[in-house]
Amino acid sequence: VPETLANLAFGFAVVLQPDVLVFAFLGCFVGTAVGVLPGIGPLAGIALVLPVTFGLDATRAIVMLSGIYYGSMYGSSTTSILMRIPGAAASVVTCIDGYEMTRRGRAGPALFLTTIASFVAGTVSVVVLTAIAPPLAAFALRFGPPEYTALLMLGLLVLAFMSSGSMVRVLAMAVLGLLVGMIGIDPMTGHFRYSFGLAELGDGVSIVPLAIGLFGLGEILASAGLAARPAVRHPRLRDLVPSREEWRRSQGPIARGTVLGFLIGLVPGSGHIIASFASYALERKLSDRPEEFGHGAVAGVSGPEAANNAATSGAFVPMLALGIPTGPVTAVLIAAIMIHGVAAGPQLMVHHPDVFWGFVASMYVGNLMLLVLNLPLIGLFVALLRVPYPLLYPTIIMFCIVGVYQVNGSVVDVWIMLVAGVVGYLLRKLDFDIAPVALGLVLAPILELSLRQSLIMSNGNYAIFVQRPIAATLLALAAVLLALALWPTLTRGRDLRRRVAEPGVEPPPDLR
């Protein structure tokens, strides 16, 4: 503990430098704006700002980009509460009771409570991250290729198991992403794979154009020509204070949402989205007034918002300790520091303590900044929502093109974004989850390389995966998960996941 505190103090010394603070503030500000505006998720926001960070060092780059990530989680609830349009996918659940609170004249308390929930969850989960990331990184030094192979396979199965839909559909999307990740030069033999004669594809398909296409452009195409947005209600500062009863009813959900969100954030997948749905289901189940859910229940707002913020910090644990991205956003963050010659993973804390501890300390500072940004400046962010959509989306498209082009200075990446946009649009319309595609692309090179390295280590003997204790444990967990998923099919019983999700937390049809 004293060593961790000393390291954290070192991190604060790094992050409290005036220019680092400015980048943290910029990240939080842009993140809140990105979260408030429907159509630009955290990933598109980070990708658009990524080229700006090329001129910075790794610490400033990751402080700014991660600020956008957790800042967007704060901001996304604003649009959900005031307009019933989720600013980001993680806030879909907040639309249900948040907008009902607005209709009842309680928009101010809803915004206040979501900000407090985000702050408490964000801060508590960073404290937990501070405590567990260093020992986990030390433990991860024992990981070799077989352990990474087993961990990634477990991660993909967890992703499929945690999703509310069909496991086969999720796994198919993940395999599609893995297949896209095979494009490019084979790192072990130098063979060109599926490059279609384009030298630009030698390095493979980058996560930035694919993610901006799937999540950003796909969303813009899906919302093209939709009816005008509803009017924005703008609560005054003095209306923000919740009643004593609303406070009392929020405390438990915030605490439970924080724990649940952090744990879900640790596993690969869209943790912040799953966490908010799981928290809503849990609160509804535990509530003594479940009939209030869907009609302005405070717990239906504060719990999920705490959960999606805690999941954000949880997602940073495998990224920092193992160097494994839990989703597209953490993949882009890893890529952002790799550009500066810094590799995420167990060695990060040893070789670049300024980056590791500066980043951790920046999250404490960032959460405080966001608390200040989100309450007094709520009017400023609400004003953003008044920009007409016919002017907003062409501007977003311009930023998408520039952001994607800038990463490699290649127009091929813009074409990849376009193709991904159409695929994302169609999959969204046909009710398929697109997050596993992006995750598959990110994990593909690590999975293939670790599998082939494992086999070289063992002279072609697959028993290496069960002879090493950590790899064997991880694979056993994967087998248990697979058995749990297949059990209802074999016994015609009820799916465990469906039982947990009941009573239903499906968003209203117009929010899907």
Binding site: Q406, K429, L430
Partner: protein, 150 residues
């Protein structure tokens, strides 16, 4: 025809196409996989998942029940972005993206020709200044800027 039949069928076709395209890649052996091993394995998995999705697709929404009301507008927006991408390096950022903004705002969204022109010029010139001068980005200049002496 249902949504899962379409997606499952597309995944099967994609898997077959990948398998056909992998013939030139050495597969290696099970003990020592070559560059074609993993893509081949993934294509087979995708084929299997695609078939399962088609077979279990009876409960998915009917294709005609999926709301496609925005599809025509989405196709127009896509075509405009595709043309902008085609012209991006030849015409340069200012001309290609400026035209895209004008067409989207003035013609697609019908916000008025003059307003569309003013909006496109303001946004594209301000963005060009921000990206190239403030952020140091390297965007294609095209023939217009050198001709104007920039």
């Amino acid at each position: 025809m249902r949504a899962d039949h379409v997606v499952g069928g597309a995944l099967v076709l994609l898997a077959l196409w990948v398998l056909a395209g992998s013939r030139d890649l050495p597969l290696g052996r099970l003990a020592f996989p070559g560059p074609g091993f993993m893509p081949g394995l993934l294509a087979l998995l995708l084929l299997a998942f695609g078939v399962v999705i088609v077979l279990l697709g009876r409960t998915s929404p009917r294709l005609r029940d999926v709301r496609w009301q925005e599809s025509r507008r989405a196709a127009v927006v896509f075509a405009i972005i595709a043309l902008t991408t085609l012209a991006f390096q030849t015409l340069g950022f200012v001309l290609a993206v400026g035209l895209m903004l004008f067409v989207l705002v003035a013609l697609v969204e019908r916000q008025g020709l003059l307003f569309g022109l003013a909006f496109a010029l303001t946004v594209v010139l301000a963005s060009f200044y921000l990206f190239t001068r403030v952020l140091g980005a390297n965007l294609p200049r095209g023939p217009l800027l050198p001709w104007l002496g920039f």
